[in-house]
Point group: C2
Chain length 130, copies 2
Protein backbone atom coordinates (compact mmCIF):
# COMPACT_ATOMS: atom_id res chain seq x y z
CA UNK A 1 0.00 0.00 0.00
CA UNK A 2 1.15 3.50 -0.81
CA UNK A 3 0.02 4.51 2.66
CA UNK A 4 2.92 2.65 4.21
CA UNK A 5 5.22 5.25 2.72
CA UNK A 6 4.43 7.53 5.59
CA UNK A 7 6.36 5.73 8.23
CA UNK A 8 9.60 5.08 6.41
CA UNK A 9 12.76 7.11 6.15
CA UNK A 10 11.93 8.36 2.71
CA UNK A 11 9.24 10.54 4.22
CA UNK A 12 10.80 11.39 7.51
CA UNK A 13 11.71 14.71 9.00
CA UNK A 14 14.40 15.41 6.49
CA UNK A 15 11.91 15.14 3.65
CA UNK A 16 9.54 17.57 5.25
CA UNK A 17 12.24 20.12 5.72
CA UNK A 18 13.98 19.89 2.40
CA UNK A 19 11.47 18.32 0.03
CA UNK A 20 10.44 20.37 -2.91
CA UNK A 21 7.22 20.20 -4.80
CA UNK A 22 6.25 19.62 -8.36
CA UNK A 23 3.13 20.89 -10.04
CA UNK A 24 0.77 18.33 -11.55
CA UNK A 25 1.18 20.38 -14.71
CA UNK A 26 4.90 19.67 -14.83
CA UNK A 27 4.99 16.02 -13.88
CA UNK A 28 5.11 14.80 -17.46
CA UNK A 29 8.60 14.30 -18.76
CA UNK A 30 10.34 13.92 -15.40
CA UNK A 31 13.22 11.53 -15.99
CA UNK A 32 13.21 7.98 -14.68
CA UNK A 33 16.44 6.10 -14.09
CA UNK A 34 17.34 2.52 -13.35
CA UNK A 35 19.32 1.56 -10.27
CA UNK A 36 22.44 1.80 -12.47
CA UNK A 37 21.65 5.51 -13.02
CA UNK A 38 20.98 4.88 -16.68
CA UNK A 39 17.97 6.73 -18.01
CA UNK A 40 15.09 4.38 -18.61
CA UNK A 41 12.33 6.71 -19.66
CA UNK A 42 10.10 9.35 -18.16
CA UNK A 43 6.98 9.99 -16.14
CA UNK A 44 3.84 10.31 -18.21
CA UNK A 45 1.57 11.06 -15.27
CA UNK A 46 0.87 10.50 -11.60
CA UNK A 47 -2.27 8.67 -10.54
CA UNK A 48 -3.51 10.47 -7.44
CA UNK A 49 -5.98 9.15 -4.91
CA UNK A 50 -8.73 11.75 -5.10
CA UNK A 51 -9.51 11.53 -1.41
CA UNK A 52 -6.15 11.19 0.26
CA UNK A 53 -4.15 13.17 -2.27
CA UNK A 54 -1.48 10.48 -2.29
CA UNK A 55 0.16 9.53 -5.57
CA UNK A 56 -0.44 5.79 -5.77
CA UNK A 57 1.06 5.04 -9.18
CA UNK A 58 3.49 6.72 -11.49
CA UNK A 59 2.76 6.01 -15.11
CA UNK A 60 6.03 5.54 -16.94
CA UNK A 61 6.87 5.61 -20.59
CA UNK A 62 9.99 4.15 -22.06
CA UNK A 63 10.70 5.98 -25.27
CA UNK A 64 11.50 3.16 -27.57
CA UNK A 65 13.69 1.45 -24.99
CA UNK A 66 11.92 -1.81 -25.40
CA UNK A 67 11.11 -1.08 -29.02
CA UNK A 68 7.69 0.04 -27.92
CA UNK A 69 6.02 3.24 -29.01
CA UNK A 70 3.37 4.75 -26.84
CA UNK A 71 2.70 2.25 -24.11
CA UNK A 72 2.30 3.31 -20.52
CA UNK A 73 3.44 1.39 -17.46
CA UNK A 74 1.76 2.17 -14.14
CA UNK A 75 4.19 1.43 -11.31
CA UNK A 76 3.28 1.55 -7.61
CA UNK A 77 4.64 4.68 -6.00
CA UNK A 78 6.71 2.80 -3.44
CA UNK A 79 8.90 1.44 -6.23
CA UNK A 80 10.02 4.97 -7.07
CA UNK A 81 12.49 7.05 -5.14
CA UNK A 82 13.14 10.69 -5.90
CA UNK A 83 16.78 11.51 -6.40
CA UNK A 84 17.62 15.22 -6.10
CA UNK A 85 21.04 14.47 -7.64
CA UNK A 86 19.41 13.05 -10.73
CA UNK A 87 16.52 15.48 -10.72
CA UNK A 88 14.29 12.51 -11.35
CA UNK A 89 13.09 9.18 -10.07
CA UNK A 90 14.98 5.95 -9.65
CA UNK A 91 13.06 2.76 -10.27
CA UNK A 92 14.84 -0.05 -8.56
CA UNK A 93 13.36 -2.84 -10.64
CA UNK A 94 14.97 -5.22 -13.04
CA UNK A 95 14.34 -4.39 -16.68
CA UNK A 96 12.91 -7.84 -17.16
CA UNK A 97 10.34 -7.05 -14.50
CA UNK A 98 9.38 -3.85 -16.27
CA UNK A 99 9.32 -5.47 -19.68
CA UNK A 100 6.74 -7.98 -18.53
CA UNK A 101 4.74 -5.50 -16.46
CA UNK A 102 1.10 -4.44 -16.91
CA UNK A 103 0.82 -1.69 -19.48
CA UNK A 104 -1.74 0.00 -21.65
CA UNK A 105 -1.79 1.62 -25.00
CA UNK A 106 -2.17 5.35 -25.41
CA UNK A 107 -5.41 4.80 -27.29
CA UNK A 108 -6.77 2.34 -24.77
CA UNK A 109 -6.50 3.96 -21.35
CA UNK A 110 -8.01 1.75 -18.64
CA UNK A 111 -10.56 2.76 -16.04
CA UNK A 112 -8.08 3.39 -13.24
CA UNK A 113 -10.08 1.98 -10.35
CA UNK A 114 -9.34 -0.35 -7.45
CA UNK A 115 -9.62 -3.43 -9.62
CA UNK A 116 -7.01 -2.19 -12.04
CA UNK A 117 -4.88 -0.97 -9.15
CA UNK A 118 -4.97 -4.41 -7.60
CA UNK A 119 -3.81 -5.95 -10.85
CA UNK A 120 -0.76 -3.70 -10.79
CA UNK A 121 -0.17 -4.23 -7.07
CA UNK A 122 -0.36 -7.98 -7.55
CA UNK A 123 2.24 -7.90 -10.28
CA UNK A 124 4.74 -5.73 -8.43
CA UNK A 125 3.88 -7.18 -5.04
CA UNK A 126 6.15 -10.09 -5.74
CA UNK A 127 9.19 -7.85 -6.13
CA UNK A 128 11.04 -6.15 -3.29
CA UNK A 129 10.40 -2.48 -2.72
CA UNK A 130 13.12 0.14 -3.23
CA UNK B 1 0.76 19.17 8.00
CA UNK B 2 -0.66 17.23 5.13
CA UNK B 3 0.83 14.12 6.67
CA UNK B 4 -1.71 14.22 9.45
CA UNK B 5 -4.37 13.32 6.90
CA UNK B 6 -3.32 9.74 7.18
CA UNK B 7 -4.83 9.05 10.53
CA UNK B 8 -8.25 10.59 10.09
CA UNK B 9 -11.50 9.16 8.82
CA UNK B 10 -11.14 10.76 5.44
CA UNK B 11 -8.40 8.30 4.62
CA UNK B 12 -9.57 5.28 6.50
CA UNK B 13 -10.52 1.87 5.31
CA UNK B 14 -13.50 3.06 3.34
CA UNK B 15 -11.34 5.36 1.27
CA UNK B 16 -8.94 2.62 0.39
CA UNK B 17 -11.71 0.39 -0.79
CA UNK B 18 -13.79 2.86 -2.73
CA UNK B 19 -11.42 5.71 -3.53
CA UNK B 20 -10.85 6.38 -7.17
CA UNK B 21 -7.88 7.99 -8.76
CA UNK B 22 -7.34 10.98 -10.96
CA UNK B 23 -4.51 11.42 -13.41
CA UNK B 24 -2.23 14.41 -12.96
CA UNK B 25 -3.15 15.17 -16.56
CA UNK B 26 -6.81 15.57 -15.66
CA UNK B 27 -6.59 17.47 -12.41
CA UNK B 28 -7.09 20.85 -14.04
CA UNK B 29 -10.68 21.96 -14.16
CA UNK B 30 -11.97 19.75 -11.33
CA UNK B 31 -14.77 21.70 -9.70
CA UNK B 32 -14.41 23.27 -6.27
CA UNK B 33 -17.46 24.01 -4.14
CA UNK B 34 -18.06 25.98 -0.98
CA UNK B 35 -19.58 24.36 2.09
CA UNK B 36 -22.95 25.59 0.78
CA UNK B 37 -22.45 23.40 -2.32
CA UNK B 38 -22.20 26.47 -4.51
CA UNK B 39 -19.48 26.26 -7.11
CA UNK B 40 -16.58 28.50 -6.23
CA UNK B 41 -14.11 27.72 -8.94
CA UNK B 42 -11.84 24.93 -10.06
CA UNK B 43 -8.52 23.23 -9.50
CA UNK B 44 -5.69 24.63 -11.55
CA UNK B 45 -3.10 22.13 -10.32
CA UNK B 46 -1.93 19.98 -7.45
CA UNK B 47 1.40 20.68 -5.81
CA UNK B 48 2.93 17.29 -5.08
CA UNK B 49 5.76 16.55 -2.68
CA UNK B 50 8.33 15.00 -5.00
CA UNK B 51 9.59 12.60 -2.37
CA UNK B 52 6.48 11.48 -0.55
CA UNK B 53 4.07 11.76 -3.47
CA UNK B 54 1.57 13.53 -1.25
CA UNK B 55 -0.42 16.44 -2.66
CA UNK B 56 0.34 19.24 -0.24
CA UNK B 57 -1.52 22.09 -1.89
CA UNK B 58 -4.32 22.42 -4.38
CA UNK B 59 -4.01 25.52 -6.49
CA UNK B 60 -7.47 26.98 -7.02
CA UNK B 61 -8.74 29.46 -9.50
CA UNK B 62 -11.93 31.39 -9.11
CA UNK B 63 -13.12 32.36 -12.53
CA UNK B 64 -14.05 35.94 -12.05
CA UNK B 65 -15.84 35.17 -8.81
CA UNK B 66 -13.99 37.87 -6.99
CA UNK B 67 -13.66 39.95 -10.10
CA UNK B 68 -10.18 38.57 -10.56
CA UNK B 69 -8.81 37.18 -13.78
CA UNK B 70 -6.01 34.69 -13.68
CA UNK B 71 -4.89 34.56 -10.09
CA UNK B 72 -4.08 31.28 -8.39
CA UNK B 73 -4.73 30.42 -4.78
CA UNK B 74 -2.70 27.60 -3.22
CA UNK B 75 -4.73 26.00 -0.43
CA UNK B 76 -3.35 23.35 1.96
CA UNK B 77 -4.66 19.92 1.02
CA UNK B 78 -6.29 19.33 4.40
CA UNK B 79 -8.75 22.15 3.69
CA UNK B 80 -10.16 20.18 0.76
CA UNK B 81 -12.46 17.23 0.94
CA UNK B 82 -13.38 15.18 -2.10
CA UNK B 83 -17.11 14.75 -2.57
CA UNK B 84 -18.08 11.87 -4.86
CA UNK B 85 -21.62 13.30 -5.00
CA UNK B 86 -20.32 16.59 -6.35
CA UNK B 87 -17.59 15.02 -8.41
CA UNK B 88 -15.31 17.68 -7.03
CA UNK B 89 -13.78 19.18 -3.94
CA UNK B 90 -15.44 21.04 -1.13
CA UNK B 91 -13.44 23.84 0.48
CA UNK B 92 -14.86 24.52 3.88
CA UNK B 93 -13.51 28.03 4.22
CA UNK B 94 -15.28 31.31 4.44
CA UNK B 95 -15.15 33.34 1.25
CA UNK B 96 -13.63 36.20 3.17
CA UNK B 97 -10.78 33.89 4.14
CA UNK B 98 -10.21 32.94 0.52
CA UNK B 99 -10.51 36.50 -0.71
CA UNK B 100 -7.66 37.59 1.54
CA UNK B 101 -5.55 34.48 0.96
CA UNK B 102 -2.06 34.26 -0.55
CA UNK B 103 -2.25 34.13 -4.32
CA UNK B 104 -0.09 34.61 -7.34
CA UNK B 105 -0.53 35.86 -10.82
CA UNK B 106 -0.38 33.56 -13.81
CA UNK B 107 2.62 35.44 -15.11
CA UNK B 108 4.41 35.46 -11.79
CA UNK B 109 4.49 31.88 -10.53
CA UNK B 110 6.44 31.59 -7.28
CA UNK B 111 9.24 29.17 -6.48
CA UNK B 112 7.10 26.62 -4.68
CA UNK B 113 9.50 25.69 -1.92
CA UNK B 114 9.25 25.23 1.84
CA UNK B 115 9.42 28.97 2.47
CA UNK B 116 6.47 29.66 0.23
CA UNK B 117 4.65 26.65 1.65
CA UNK B 118 5.12 27.98 5.14
CA UNK B 119 3.64 31.30 4.13
CA UNK B 120 0.51 29.51 2.96
CA UNK B 121 0.42 27.21 5.98
CA UNK B 122 0.75 30.19 8.29
CA UNK B 123 -2.18 31.94 6.66
CA UNK B 124 -4.53 28.96 6.72
CA UNK B 125 -3.18 27.62 9.99
CA UNK B 126 -5.36 30.04 11.85
CA UNK B 127 -8.54 28.60 10.36
CA UNK B 128 -10.10 25.30 11.38
CA UNK B 129 -9.59 22.32 9.10
CA UNK B 130 -12.47 20.67 7.25
Amino acid sequence: MAYDNYSNDQNGLETRETGDMISSRKVEGTAVYGSDSEKLGSIESFMVNKLSGQVEYAVLQFGGLFGIGSEYYPVPWNHLRYSPEHGGYIVNLDRKVLEAAPRYDEADEPQFDRTYGREIDDYYGTYPTV
